[in-house]
Assembly symmetry: C2
Homo-oligomer: 494 residues x 2
């Protein structure tokens, strides 16, 4: 551990006085979990992990850091997948103690929550009030709503309800100089000037620290029908999606995709799971329709669409979840896929989006390109098909050395991202940029957009103290730059 400078020591003392020593952690063992990225991709360093108890203390902490030029990296559940929460010196600001649900206003259909609330607890508070907070993703038991806001998290309900951005009405944000912007309004319409809210959402802690938010609640669905469908290609899945969207409208709440390889590794590594269809097919779709009403007709609608799709050859087979337990089992096949990939060796991952109209074409072209580049590579392209968002992951060829395989990461990035870019897509659909994609972004993003981003960063954080070096580099003269290639372990990538 490096010895803190005099200014840094003074900062720690000042923070300990205001927040209490228990909330300004400096011992290596106390800081450990905040320094390491979830998958072990990066190990950072920090002067202290600071745990303010309310917004005023966050503002005090930021103001003190700003005064001394000390960088601040905000952390919620530290579950990010792009290295966005890794500190490289300075202070880790944990929002964990800002975990109150400040208000639920059922008649307004809103709840006001603090940044450190775990997503699952936000969902639970909404449910207790008779509502649905629809944001749902794999890490919901440990990620925080502040992190969801900072990364504009996506997940499995975007098709129907939108990303975190679309679920948010107001924000409270601490700025880089320690001032507090109170934008906690729960309004459906508010055209009083520039949209500051959406500037902070998705900025990954580089423009300000979100301390609280007003979230939109939705009526809880009263009817839910689920089906697992087998078909001959991603193109057939897309045709089914198109057949569903018109009659089902936004009652179509999920259209997830997985390939044969994906289903087989779930069945292999999760012995409790049951093969849903009698035969194997090239592609599978998990379809869900919900209605806010008790709606017996919804099941018939889905049955009719599937029957018609079977008849005209769009799909090859389908099974419907006849009970809540069966629906959950079908969802389990999809949800377990993220986890079991690591049991198949090294996995090179991409989180991309293309227009929905091109998602089948993308899967086919990118699959062929990767298989051509490395015979034996096993493509696991799955995810939020109805959003055009595919987790285009590549499991290593059987028998290949894992480290040798993972050393090809950059080569596959170019292959996959070039195809995405050629389709006017996104190289970071729902996980963000952080550190891992920062230099990729500089390669693919419209240069005018990059320039605007840098100008905004310089304006809102002139000292480059908020999560410096993440998302976008603001120039060679920035006070804190560091290379993307600080990964501690290649094997950690798997």
């Amino acid at each position: 551990m490096t010895v803190p400078s005099q200014a840094e020591a003074a900062l720690i003392e000042t923070l300990q006085e205001r927040l209490g020593k228990a909330h300004v952690l400096t011992a290596a063992s106390d800081m450990e979990s905040a320094l390491v990225e979830l998958r072990g991709l990066y190990r950072g360093t920090a002067l202290a992990v600071v745990r303010p108890g309310d917004t005023q203390q966050v503002a005090f902490t930021i103001a003190q850091c700003a005064k001394r030029g000390v960088p601040v990296v905000a952390q919620g559940g530290n579950t990010g997948l792009v290295g966005g929460g890794v500190p490289f010196g300075g202070v880790v600001l944990s929002l964990a103690r800002l975990n109150r649900v400040r208000e639920i206003d059922p008649l307004n259909g809103t709840m006001t929550v603090e940044a450190g609330c775990v997503l699952q607890s936000v969902q639970a508070a909404a449910a207790a009030a008779g509502y649905l907070f629809p944001l749902s993703l794999a890490s919901e038991g440990s990620c925080t709503i502040g992190g969801n806001l900072a990364t504009n998290a996506g997940g499995t309900a975007v098709l129907r309800y939108g990303n975190t951005r679309e679920l948010t009405l107001g924000l409270e944000v601490v700025l880089s100089d320690g001032r507090i912007w109170n934008g906690l309004k729960g309004l459906r319409k508010d055209n009083t000037g520039y949209d500051l809210r959406d500037l902070f959402i998705g900025s990954e802690g580089t423009l300000g620290i979100i301390t609280a938010a007003v979230l939109k609640l939705s009526p809880a669905p009263k009817t839910r029908v689920t089906a697992f469908v087998g078909c001959a290609s991603p193109g057939h899945a897309l045709a089914l999606f198109n057949n569903l969207r018109d009659p089902a409208g936004d009652q179509l709440t999920a259209f997830e995709y997985m390939p044969d390889f994906g289903l087989e590794i779930v069945l292999k590594h999760r012995p409790a799971s049951v093969r849903p269809l009698a035969e194997r097919y090239h592609s599978y779709a998990l379809v869900e329709l919900t209605s806010p009403r008790v709606d017996a007709d919804l099941r018939r609608t889905l049955e009719e669409i599937l029957a018609s799709a079977l008849e005209d050859g769009t799909i090859a087979d389908a099974v419907m979840g006849d009970s809540e337990a069966q629906s959950l089992a079908l969802w389990g096949l999809r949800e377990n896929l993220s986890e079991v990939q690591r049991l198949e060796g090294g996995s090179i991952k991409h989180d991309v989006a293309v227009p929905v109209s091109r998602v089948a074409e993308f899967i086919e072209i990118a699959t062929k390109a990767c298989e051509d580049a490395m015979p034996g590579v096993r493509v696991c392209a799955f995810g939020h098909f109805g959003d055009g968002n595919i987790h285009f992951n590549l499991s290593q060829p059987l028998g290949m050395d894992k480290d040798a395989y993972l050393s090809e990461w950059a080569r596959f990035n170019v292959i996959v991202h070039d195809i995405v870019n050629g389709m006017n897509g996104s190289i970071a659909a729902e996980h963000g940029i952080g550190l891992i994609k920062r230099d990729e972004l500089a390669r693919y993003k419209d240069p005018v957009a990059l320039d605007l981003m840098r100008a905004i960063k310089r304006t809102l954080d002139p000292g480059n103290l908020l999560n410096p070096g993440k998302v976008v580099e603001i120039g060679a003269d920035s006070p804190a730059t560091f290379p993307v290639e600080t990964r501690v372990t290649k094997t950690g990538l798997a």
Copy 2:
């Protein structure tokens, strides 16, 4: 007409060379319609009205203006209600010739349109492709989508589909230095850096000129049921809204409100309209449910909710539109209200929003405060109740001098906006700030937010050339400031 300076003359010559003389208008008669605000509130001045034919020509125009320090005010249909499009010197940039639908991608559920497309033509193009583009407002026959984007327009379908912001996926924008940002992506998920799109949407032409957009399309509703409801107070209307929202979910597509006074003046001035209910009531709600499916059950749902509300005294009477013609007639009662108010003399107007949970309370408190301030004033509080957005308009007392009444505008602003502000509401819900509310905004907006807005304006438009003096003043040293009180005629306010 003032004689242009040498630099200004050179600018006009340069623009005429590139765009053609027919598209750089300088004669007073040619410019007239671009100088006057819709309601006659303001009369501006301009060097020229420039009509570029494509994005490159817009960029050229802006670059040439920037080079010479000449301000630029963009105009679409010039239908704004807050003086946002009024030029005070410089160039009026008309987007009218950028009126192509560039692409419709049915499978992606998107269309790419240029800024000068009239809203109605965007709706028609979507309908021709079998989709709904849900943005709908009174001026849809003449306003342009560029203006809708610049003001984040609202309208009657926000409850179900959101504001213009929520209907937009991508933008093409010309910046203040003439560079083009190509953000025309049609993606549901794209977390590649800061949300530039939403910074330009709603910025009223002060940060950049929107030249094209990718818009989201929705499935066209297959079933629609409408009801007109009478009840004893706004509080009863709110209770009905609450009873509807849970069972109907987002199938509740409209919940509009009008008071007894509003219905009576529509019936008085529109002799063809028919009284919908046998008796008169304090408050009325226009309710609409739609479904993307052919859904016979939808009508029964609404009938049951209304029957139950009648039984427990929430509402006093209701009629359902039994045909498309009847539904249109019910909508007509609401839609004619905007227009007939001017036939009742001077009208002092407010476009405000509060949390939906407080909308009834707001109407009651603000009504009493205004009636106390001026006995005989006739409150016409109506609008998008389900969004918490009320057009809180005040018709003059019978027999009072109109000008004397309108001279009280500022006093009523303070009364109404103070109440709105006390409820954490918005003084500009859907019409924007422009010029007419700029100084009101400075009074009510969080000072930190104002400061952020000014910093962003200075960063994106350092020369203060894009619609200077609108939305927010950036300081006494700004190259173009002018007072709000430039209204040409008080009577024009009615």
